[in-house]
């Protein structure tokens, strides 16, 4: 079985309110049964996720963000050394930086979709605004995938 050329990777803790936005968006997209797209989730990014990126043309990370504009922000990522190396979790930019060193290869084109969230405490429910932001994000991802096919 060949590796799908597009990977969409949502990360966040489903038990912490709007931090669930990344994995939830993946669940929504999963229902659509898209071909040639692999969907993955995890609580947080770690260096072994470079192996998930291997062999892709496009990688799209999806995360909740308290500081981005509503409903979401989207952009291409550049590899970057940053302070996330000093944590149990990594940023996607840091992961991208690690990719070339660990696998000795050029990384795939990588994007980050930051969905605006409001509350992140353990046990919080998803906020109503987060649900709206997720719907808008879903529409955007589908457009993004259509554009990628062209």
């Amino acid at each position: 079985m060949s590796t799908p050329k597009v990977l969409i990777f949502g990360y966040g803790n489903p038990g912490r309110g709007d931090d669930a936005l990344g994995p939830l968006l993946i669940s929504e997209i999963e229902k659509l049964g898209l071909a040639e797209v692999e969907l993955q989730t995890d609580m947080q990014l770690q260096v072994e996720h470079v192996m998930d990126m291997q062999g892709r043309d496009i990688v799209l990370f999806v995360d909740a963000d308290v500081s981005c504009d509503e409903p979401f922000e989207f952009g291409e990522l550049k590899a970057e050394k940053d302070s996330s190396y000093t944590s149990h979790a990594m940023t996607p930019q840091a992961l991208l930086h690690s990719y070339s060193h660990v696998l000795n290869a050029t990384s795939p084109k990588t994007f980050l979709l930051r969905i605006r969230g409001e509350r992140f405490e353990l046990g919080d429910e998803l906020s109503s605004s987060a649900i709206e932001h997720m719907e808008a994000s879903k529409r955007f991802v589908l457009e993004f995938l259509n554009r990628s096919d062209e």
């Binding site: 990360y11 966040g12 803790n13 489903p14 038990g15 912490r16 709007d18 931090d19 994995p23 993955q40 989730t41 995890d42 609580m43 947080q44 990014l45 770690q46 260096v47 072994e48 470079v50 192996m51 995360d63 909740a64 963000d65 308290v66 500081s67 981005c68 050394k81 940053d82 302070s83 190396y85 000093t86 944590s87 149990h88 979790a89 940023t91 840091a94 930086h97 690690s98 060193h101 660990v102 000795n104 930051r114 969230g117 992140f120 405490e121 353990l122 046990g123």
Partner: protein, 490 residues
């Protein structure tokens, strides 16, 4: 830890500690002679665990508790599953279920230990505690030791594959059900895991060898943040290292037993949790001793010290070298946590291989039923140490009361003691220096404390360090920027 009067002390606060899971804060209370009289390592995220669980149906608990932590969700899942077994009246699961759970647990411990050593601690050990902070990180290791970094990545990946195979997915997997497991392992799944296991064994062996070399070649590390302590862990009925199920053994610093083969369901008779006004975390101690000297350490150092042997040959040989280092007695070096952690990683790799060749693993007899009970207690040895899950249920099956003692809580006093020891050695004057910060973080990281975060939303990781006088007046404050730069902000 203090024997003096805190009101006469000055305070230095360091907040938060980096490269541990979640957020922490250190407060150092100095006496007039500038000695660190008391160290307080605050972990602010621990509040709310029990409240989060109360009111949930008991059968959902093993799934909910996975959300407590992004690093060891499987440990919480399995501890809760063992407690739920008791709630449904099951004291003995089927051989297939027990082996599937053990396999899951070994996969979890392997990946967690690999993360800690290769990605969080190896930069300190390979580059030195005082080396350039910009390079002393996992990327520095990747750049300078690419082969080592790749082994770490692959070890973690393999552990994750074991988890994913048994649980169905990476997060929110559905591994256990009350009294059993959700699904069998197929021959294809087993064979896929067997495909890489010899490489995994080789990488884990290399990691043990590297730790032995580092510890032997750096005698200055031996006393770093170190002290003699009691130790608590589970052991098998025959005294073997045991990560999934066994009796509790507590030992004194000289290796003699405080108690042994204690049924963990009676833990409240052996462990009491002291509350202190300055911390959300509790301070457990052994009731066979008094409050002041009943605290103990858990985790890899405790387990490898406490056990009589390890059941797998390569890890047992490594344990014997570990014991020989201390002349056959207990190893008390705090930085030997890393060494013990890799011995356990090797044991996990060997145990995974053994289990994958065990025909019971492919069985289909997965669930046992029993008579419902009102109380269930599950204990496992999580990567960071002994993990207790204790639940009482209402008649309608919802959780009435929950008590969790997580590994980091058990190590609470020990971490404070290590911080005090290191601060006394490296604090110079009234300023928080980068050197002091680095050394404090190295000492805390040895315990691999999990501060229960897993929220990592971008833009939510501030770092502030402040120096406060005893009357609360701020004397100094330092901010650590997102790019790692340190700026004095007072």
């Amino acid at each position: 830890m203090t024997d003096g009067k805190p009101e006469n002390l000055r305070r230095i606060a360091v907040d938060p500690v980096t490269r541990v899971e979640g957020h922490g804060k250190i407060t150092l209370l100095l006496d007039e002679a500038n000695h660190v009289h008391e160290a307080r390592f605050h972990i602010v995220e621990f509040r709310g665990f029990e409240k989060f669980i109360q009111g949930r149906p008991y059968w959902e608990v093993p799934y909910f508790v996975q959300r407590l932590c992004g690093i060891c969700p499987v440990s919480h899942h399995l501890a809760a599953a063992k407690a739920v077994d008791q709630l449904v009246g099951v004291d003995q699961v089927t051989p297939t279920t027990e082996k599937l759970r053990r396999l899951l647990h070994f996969g979890q411990t392997l990946q967690s230990h690999a993360l800690h050593f290769f990605h969080l601690s190896s930069p300190d050990l390979l580059f030195g505690f005082g080396s350039n902070l910009e390079h002393r990180n996992i990327v520095g290791v990747i750049e300078d030791f690419p082969d080592l970094a790749l082994k770490g990545v692959k070890l973690r990946k393999y552990g994750q594959q074991v988890i994913e195979t048994i649980s169905g997915k990476r997060i929110h997997g559905a591994a256990t059900v009350p009294g059993g497991m959700n699904k069998s392992l197929t021959v294809e799944e087993r064979d896929r895991l067997l495909g890489d296991i010899d490489d995994v064994l080789g990488w884990a062996s290399d990691a043990v060898a590297l730790n032995e070399k580092i510890h032997m070649e750096h005698p200055e590390n031996h006393g770093f943040g170190s002290f003699k302590s009691n130790y608590l862990s589970m052991v098998g009925g025959d005294g073997a290292l045991e990560l999934y199920h066994g009796g509790l053994r507590a030992s004194k610093p000289d290796g003699s037993n405080i108690f042994d083969q204690f049924d963990y369901r009676g833990y409240t008779g052996k462990i009491r949790e002291e509350v202190k006004p300055w911390s959300y975390m509790k301070f457990p101690y052994l009731t066979d001793l008094d409050r002041s000297d009943g605290w103990y350490r858990v985790g890899p150092l405790a387990r490898v010290n406490n056990c009589d042997f390890i059941s797998t040959p390569l890890a047992e040989a490594a344990r014997q070298r570990f014991k020989a280092f201390a002349g056959g007695g207990f190893v008390h070096d705090t930085l030997a946590y890393h060494w013990a952690r890799m011995i356990e990683a090797l044991h996990c790799a060997e145990s995974i291989k053994e289990l994958l060749h065990d025909p019971d693993l492919l069985g289909s007899d997965l669930v046992v039923k029993g008579e419902k009970r009102e109380e269930g207690i599950g204990v496992i040895e999580a990567p960071r140490g002994t993990l207790f899950h204790h639940y009482e249920v209402n008649e309608d099956g919802t959780i009435k009361k929950a008590n969790l003692i997580v590994s980091t809580t058990s190590n609470n006093t020990a971490m404070n003691e290590s911080v005090r020891s290191v601060a006394n050695e490296y604090l110079d004057g009234n300023e928080i220096t980068e050197g002091l910060l680095n050394h404090l973080e190295v000492a805390i990281r040895a315990y691999d404390p999990c501060l229960s975060c897993a929220t990592h939303a971008l833009g939510k990781m501030p770092l502030e360090i402040e120096l406060l006088a005893a009357d609360g007046v701020q004397l100094d404050r330092v901010a650590k920027g997102s790019n790692g730069t340190i700026v004095r902000t007072i």
